[in-house]
């Protein structure tokens, strides 16, 4: 009940953004050690992107991905309706 009371509390948002930031950083390092962003961009045909730009965009895409999974975890943590009846 009270878990639902403040769906957008600062702490809730941090608990989504912070763990996803950590894991996105790790994923970025591992991914770009194996794959050169310039080759990926060249293959996908998105035009010219510098390597630093490639790393940064990659990082934010990873962050988006991990943050979505953290948000889903937060969302599913809410008690089911019949459990609180």
């Amino acid at each position: 009940m009270s878990i639902n009371k403040f769906p957008f509390s600062a702490q809730r948002i941090i608990s989504i953004l912070w763990p996803s930031f950590l894991t996105a950083g790790l994923a970025t390092i591992l991914f770009f050690t194996a794959f050169d962003p310039q080759l990926i961009v060249a293959v996908s045909g998105f035009g010219e992107v510098s390597r630093l730009g490639g790393y940064s965009i990659g990082f934010f895409l990873f962050w988006l991905l991990t943050a979505s999974s953290c948000s889903l975890t937060c969302f599913f943590q809410r008690p089911c309706p019949n459990a609180t009846e």
Binding site: M1, S2, K5, I14, T33, R51, T84
Partner: protein, 464 residues
């Protein structure tokens, strides 16, 4: 409500409403150790990007070119193995020191502690002592208060900007970075990361402080798993201290039925995470020993013996002998030594040359007009040295064969790769199997110690 539901106050207890902690300035042995730790570590952080080695930036993680330069070493993405081992060593070292001495990392070496210490120092210089800061925050907004606050944030932000600049200087050559900032020609991503890191420094060390340790740090949550009764912790000697109470100097506490604690609350005032160490071991305690320093000062003034609050172990508090060499510490130590020496050995014997062989993908083999069986390979030569090299490539096979290269010698510039096409021809009568193991060798003309080999296979028809 009869169902057990989280109450509001419990909820807010889990995510406490933040009350600003004003840590009081402290002097003493452990405070000095922390100042030394902070100065040395931050000194390295701000100095290293400016360090030059053989005319190049000594430490440069050149992400745009996918090369890491550390003094004479150059690391390529393929060398990720070393970084992985280094991270494992760092983790094992953290386990080892935590098991042995508790949260020494948090108290003396963590970047959060280091930068918070600097920010607190600036705050103290601008706004004055703890009491003055509390008073200033409670006071209505006056011109004086505004000027103090503006000055403090101005210094904080300038220092953060310098920190962000330094961070990016590890990834972009520092002279280029400085001149392109000066000429306003810096790329958008460099700007972004400077602002991002500056903002993180300002936010974490200026505003978040102990909340980072309490709510955000993963290590703070799991460090207790490395603790046992023989781990060094900071603890209040309640047997000696209680019952606490104020008294005049020179009075025998026994006559007033008091313990050694004079209840001056200085230990609470100096605590950067705002806890009372007299309530026992708490996970918010980052082991900074500020309370030890300040209590010792008070004990000195009162003429009591020191160490009412001290570094000790749970066993020592229970009058059990502290055991330093327990299995967990020994295991961590052996692991640490083995990994470190392994890494050092492989770094010392590392050859800055790599040879990869890729077989031609189009055909397994082809038959030449003269009836020979031919295999085609691409040899990828990576010169990881800081100098250009000319290499000689040879090949050995367990059958009679001809090794054909366009050039007998291949020159590869420093830190670059070159692809060389190679062909091997053999008479079908000499081949004993459909797949034969062969080996390529490469050696530098300038320095024969630079040599390496690569294995490959030679494919042919079924021998008759």
């Amino acid at each position: 409500m009869d169902k057990p539901v989280l109450q509001d106050d419990q909820d807010s207890g889990f995510y406490a409403k933040h009350k600003k902690v004003y840590p009081r300035e402290v002097h003493g042995l452990f405070a000095s150790l922390r100042v030394i730790g902070v100065t040395v570590l931050l000194g390295f952080y701000y100095f290293v990007p400016w360090m030059y080695w053989n005319g190049k930036q000594a430490v440069l993680f050149d992400l745009p070119n996918r090369r890491f330069y550390i003094f004479d070493w150059t690391f390529w993405p393929q060398d990720f193995f070393y970084l992985a081992i280094l991270l494992i060593i760092a983790a094992v070292a953290l386990f080892f020191f935590t098991a042995l001495a508790g949260r020494v990392w948090c108290g003396y070496a963590c970047p959060q502690t280091a930068w918070t210490e600097v920010f607190l120092w600036i705050e103290r210089k601008v706004e004055g002592s703890r009491n003055k800061q509390i008073k200033l925050d409670k006071a209505p907004l006056t011109r004086y208060k505004l000027s103090r606050k503006v000055l403090k944030h101005f210094i904080w932000i300038s220092f953060s900007a310098w920190t962000g600049f330094t961070f990016v200087a590890y990834f972009t050559p520092v002279d280029q970075l400085a001149s392109s900032i000066w000429n306003l020609t810096l790329g958008p991503w460099e700007w972004f990361w400077i602002v991002f890191y500056s903002f993180a420094t300002y936010g974490n060390a200026g505003w978040m402080r102990e909340q980072v340790c309490i709510y955000m740090c993963p290590y703070a949550r799991f460090q207790s798993a490395m603790f046992d009764n023989n781990t060094l912790v900071i603890s209040y000697d309640s047997v000696r201290g209680e019952p606490r109470g104020s008294r005049k100097k020179g009075i025998d506490p026994k006559s007033k039925n008091l313990g050694a604690c004079v209840d001056c609350t200085l230990c609470v005032q100096v605590c950067p995470t705002g806890i009372d160490i007299r309530q026992g071991l708490q996970y918010q305690c980052i082991g900074c020993a500020a309370c030890v320093d300040v209590c010792n000062e008070v004990m000195d003034k009162m003429g009591y013996s020191k160490n009412l609050v001290k570094y000790t172990t749970l066993n020592a508090l229970d009058n059990i002998k502290t055991n330093v060499f327990r299995p967990r510490v020994v295991v961590y130590f052996v692991l640490l030594i083995a990994l470190t020496s392994g890494l050092l050995y492989s770094m010392a014997t590392r050859i800055p040359l790599e040879l990869d062989v890729v077989r031609d993908r189009n055909a397994l083999y082809r038959t030449t007009p003269l009836g020979y069986i031919e295999n085609i390979y691409t040899l990828k030569i990576a010169n990881k040295d800081l100098q250009d090299h000319t290499y000689v490539i040879t090949m050995t096979a367990p059958f009679k064969s001809t090794f054909i290269l366009r050039d007998k010698q291949v020159k590869v510039s420093a830190n670059l790769t070159t692809n060389v096409s190679a062909r091997i021809q053999a008479d079908p009568v000499d081949i004993k199997a459909m797949s034969e193991k062969i080996e390529f060798q490469i050696v530098s003309i300038n320095n024969p110690e630079l040599n390496t080999t690569a294995k490959a296979v030679f494919l042919g028809p079924k021998p008759k």
